[in-house]
């Protein structure tokens, strides 16, 4: 994923489900194929963001679990119905 634009989202200190909501809203602004890196401190995000991606058709490229931070990298899938 070397020459793709990498978008960043910082949701540190935000608790579930806010990291998911912010990811969802950010993804809505991005085009299919773009890559987003989400940095969180709520360890729940490690389950929730990938689950949200699977449900809504986005690809999880990587998840990293550090001591204090969790990083989820995803590739935006096909646009969803306008709800």
């Amino acid at each position: 994923m070397s020459d793709e634009t990498l978008h960043e989202l910082d949701v540190r200190r935000q608790l579930c489900p806010i990291p998911v909501i912010k990811t969802q809203n950010k993804v809505a602004e991005l085009a299919q194929g773009e890559v987003l890196r989400v940095t969180c401190t709520d360890p729940g995000a490690l389950n929730d963001i990938p689950a949200w991606c699977r449900i809504n058709g986005h690809e999880v490229l990587a998840t990293e679990e550090g001591d204090l931070e969790v990083v989820v990298t995803l590739r935006v899938g096909a646009p969803s119905v306008a709800l």
Binding site: P17, I18, I21, N47, I55, L83
Partner: protein, 369 residues
Amino acid sequence: MSEAVAPVTRPSADPLQRRAIALVSGGLDSMLAVKVMQEQGIHVEGVNFFTGFCVEGHTHAIRKKDKDKNKRNNALWVAEELGIKLHIIDISEEYKDVVLNPKHGYGAHLNPCLDCKIFMVNQATLMLNKARELAGEKGFDFIITGEVVGQRPKSQRKETMPIISSESGADDRLLRPLSALNLPETLPEREGWVDRSRLHDFSGRNRKPQIELARRFGLEDYAQPSGGCCFLTDESYSRKLADLWQARNERRYELDDIMLLKVGRHIRPQPHLKLIISREEGENRFLEGYRYQFTSLTTVSCPGPLALVDGRFESEAELEQAAAIVARYSKGRGDESVTVEVKDPGGVAREVRVAPARPDDIPKNWLVA
């Protein structure tokens, strides 16, 4: 219709397939409501509303002792189980008016369940209308909830069901698959989009029919309904919220306020002063994040909790009183004196040396719980 085409291979773009928005809380009832619709070939997508009071992951993420629990968002998990899309909507700002001024009043605690339901169904109705505007027939046709007549004393009585339908603006586009046979026919039933005879007549607080239906659908792992959907049904939480309003002389809150009510030990030694004291490491880390917004206290001569000060010290004596309380919950509680660091939100710190409070220095009624 020919049976030759297996329903699974029919894409959801099938022009004949009707589409429903489901209110998904993460509990069993909404899960079953979706299943009942899917069984009838309806395409379902879920919405879940974040009010700020949701019991979800938050506390699990904060408290270390819950570390082993599977930290998952129930609504997301349910959506994945059901194979539906889920839109999580942050309504925490608009929701304040529901909590502060519920037209239909509160339940047993500060839970404005009836107004809450009306609000949520109304939000779903607005989404439905917008989707219809944008996508016409490819939008959504109706809304479903997992409501069951008579299940909740306030919001789910037989008389309140039509109130929710009409005041939300959803009218007869709102279908409750689990209780439909106890209620008047709705649009999807009249139009034949769903077969009324295959809907249910659940009512009352008995959960047996739900558990039986879950078994029939092969659902085994689901959130137990005991917890309720939000902290507003919790007695201790509601008391903390009421205390906050009383201390501030006004009924208002910010998202941070209601988050902080979910963690720590809350002690009010003065009408204008409350201490939020962490009970373990996870809470400690959570409260750390608020040190730039609140004055904080922590013991330095021995390991101890972190405490945030909600309010302002009006004298040195008040500051020392607070420090003594914090010292009481530190490892140095048996020592003659303990050094406590007091840091203001700007990061300016100083130290005070105090004798830890003894148990009877902290009267029971200071504890907000």
